[in-house]
Amino acid sequence: MAPHAPDSPPDEASLVRQSRAGSLEAFDQLVHELHPKVHAFLLTLTRNRQDAEDLTQETFVRAWRKLDRFDPSRPLLPWLLTIARRQSIAMLRKNRPLPPLELESVIPAPEPSPGPDLWRTAETHLSRDAFSALWLHYREELSLAEVGKVLGKREGAVKVLVHRARRTLAEKLRNDPPGPPPLPVTPPPIPSIWNNTRVPS
């Protein structure tokens, strides 16, 4: 292993070791680095921004408590994402009697580009499992085995899931060639005294 320059930021493994020794400041740095990834993954699972934020917080609190069980020689992100997925399942069980929320769009509005908006198509037409697997493999660059561990599936099952997702997307793009950019999914803000939005006359 190459030695680090004196003023380079500490790497993940040393931050994990310091956190395991009880340094909350080191864990804060890990939170800073990794919370957007955990939040994005939870958003693909829950499709609800408020739930994703609550679960991100719970995931890091739980990770801090259970950090002594984590093997510091492994990457931290798959372990965090596994906790995040379990937390989301627990929340789903707890809130089962409630009516289903309207799903939010995960993917932000695309920048104008000549190519097709593939991730929005994936979000619309794939199951949550398939979309999460695609997200972890292509966006977070996890291996298929790591994706399997996070999603509680075998590597072969994930391979099939990703392959089918790609085939579905290819068929969709063949059948519906890219046209004008889609309308924003997010509804316009509700007029309120707090956001200074004028009621259209």
Binding site: L24, F27, D28, V31, H32, H35, P36, H39, A40, L43, R49, E53, T56, Q57, F60, V61, W64, R65, V106, I107, P108, P110, G115, P116, D117, L118, W119, A122, L134, Y138, R139, H163, R166, R167, L169, A170, L173, R174
Partner: protein
């Protein structure tokens, strides 16, 4: 468009999902709150208290050591009672038979006319 094109496009177009700015501060705050709750001294003393209670429950009963309090000597009545109960019960039976025999003898002497009176 085939699957390898999809593969390439998925890697190229991977979007960034914006995070609300307050989320990180909220996580830091939650971590500190839980930590403070975790280190409450009352909870730290709980295992020690439970151990002491368990040892007190499992320990053998202590022997009554002399603690300066004078123990009263056994009363004489109790001693006499114990001596009485220690006698052979056949002795008292023999005493009773002997008394009966004396009473019977005196009765017979009183009832039977004496020879001297009959001669008179």
């Amino acid at each position: 468009m085939n699957e390898s094109d999809i593969d390439r496009l998925l890697r190229q177009q991977a979007p960034d999902i914006p995070v609300r700015p307050g989320l990180e501060a909220r996580i830091h705050m939650a971590l500190r709150q839980r930590r403070r709750r975790r280190l409450h001294p009352g909870w730290l003393a709980l295992p020690a208290t439970a151990l002491v209670a368990l040892l007190a429950f499992l320990a053998p009963p202590e022997e009554t050591a002399p603690t300066g309090v004078t123990v009263a000597p056994p009363e004489p009545a109790a001693e006499a009672e114990s001596a009485l109960t220690a006698l052979n019960p056949l002795g008292s039976e023999a005493e009773a038979i002997r008394n009966d025999a004396e009473r019977t003898g005196r009765f017979l002497i009183d009832c039977l006319p004496s020879l001297s009176v009959a001669e008179r």
